[in-house]
Symmetry: C2
Amino acid sequence: MKIAFIGLGIMGRPMALNLLRGGHELIVWARRAESMRPLLDVGAQAADSPAAAATDADLVISMVADAPDVEEVMLGAKGVVDALPLRDADAAPLVAVDMSTIAPAAARSIAARLGERGIAFLDAPVSGGEVGAIAGSLSIMVGGDVAAFARAQPALACLGSRVLHIGASGAGQVTKAANQILTGVGVLAVAEALNFAACSGVDAGRVREALLGGFAASRILENHGQRMLERKFAPGFKAWMHQKDLNIVLQSAHQLGVYTPLSAATAQLFNALVGNGQGDDDSIAVLKLLESLSGAAGAVGDAA
Amino acid sequence: MKIAFIGLGIMGRPMALNLLRGGHELIVWARRAESMRPLLDVGAQAADSPAAAATDADLVISMVADAPDVEEVMLGAKGVVDALPLRDADAAPLVAVDMSTIAPAAARSIAARLGERGIAFLDAPVSGGEVGAIAGSLSIMVGGDVAAFARAQPALACLGSRVLHIGASGAGQVTKAANQILTGVGVLAVAEALNFAACSGVDAGRVREALLGGFAASRILENHGQRMLERKFAPGFKAWMHQKDLNIVLQSAHQLGVYTPLSAATAQLFNALVGNGQGDDDSIAVLKLLESLSGAAGAVGDAA
């Protein structure tokens, strides 16, 4: 398949590489020309705009920062829609897949405007981070038309080990938002429980071990809890990205009138973490914030 | 071993039965005489006070409601301490194991006062609920003297499949409190994420399925999430018990000066749930509370 790939950052670059390895033909565009270099070296073509990239493509994939970036590359000047007059009249209708994490409402709005121009748009955010992007083992949550999903499948299969069509347009972003509720609240809850134990003078490692055997067990207690005990605060998933994603949750909840007390409480802690200059730490750094606000008999990671 | 068992409620009765099945000799006491009947029918002896139960026992186990009950059966009139003048002078020192969920500070205080009288006290709260009590598969988290723990082991092995000595006196209750932080916050977080999805018009069951493949995966998303989708609000673990346990967390955090924002936010929801007369529902009923406070495009459990 001929794929236009837009956005070659920490996530986009290894994803694009996996598409090339999967035998797809790749035309890339990135805001910074030097981001394209590693892809061109291994056989991708460069385009000088999203429109140019999309002109001969079967599929467009974007992996950018936030909703305004998606709007710009899809609907802005020299955006994907500008490719339409240049495309072969016999070509199949274009499918655009945005894999960035943006608000569900923004995804639906972009889908509606592209739909009017005959472009099928899928929202397909991912989880699994840089490690999953490199390994091609991302979890991909897709919203939008089922026929368009079927056409995008051969590409998505190169990027993720778990590719699920969730529902109509926006459903992928809603699923990602729900994921960020559970992971954001989950990281803070594990930090709170381990800090509570340490401040009570009890070995937090021993507590984690005990809790992994019961209903408190979670992948976050297992993975992030272990990193808290080792006090390894390097990312992983950066705190400022979790702050951004929780803001998507809170903005959506505001628009829909949905009561989300734990997301709201958790977002405050991420605000404080980013405000304190720790936004580039992993999100487990919420532990340090709790510690700075607590009287401690001991710290998480102290030996028994 | 000759065991005095005090408290024969929903948890205590099946636990006492498992000790009998394990070949231990049992002397039981319960506030309500009729609670003893099922145990006497299968070979337990009745005592007319905790002191009488403890007089010839090697080990005392209590499974009662809250700290004042533990204080009373251990240190009150006709409590376990009153057995001391009646015990054989050659008998090994008595070990008392409280398996109720009470505040860590209360457990330490009781341990100190019993220690002055020569009784070793272990705090050994459990998780796993009535199902685990019946199956003998409880998770048991123990704080206190290691030698006393070794003496209690043969009894505890009949009650739980996972019996862990965590640390000094109080460490078992601290671990249980940490468990209740993660399960209480966890149940509310899963309810919040699924309700967010449903209110956004997305099939919450499909979202749960997608999230189980990533870092959001937890036993609560698996088990409690499924029950939310089936809207089965029968306990399980009653909301008022979770409310009580979160109050232990908040009181301990108050005493120690520990910052516990998610426990505090979650406790408010459980307060409201109990205040609304839903305390006897399972703790997953927090979902109904979120729904009553949200504008919904759909409900958790609706088909896609």
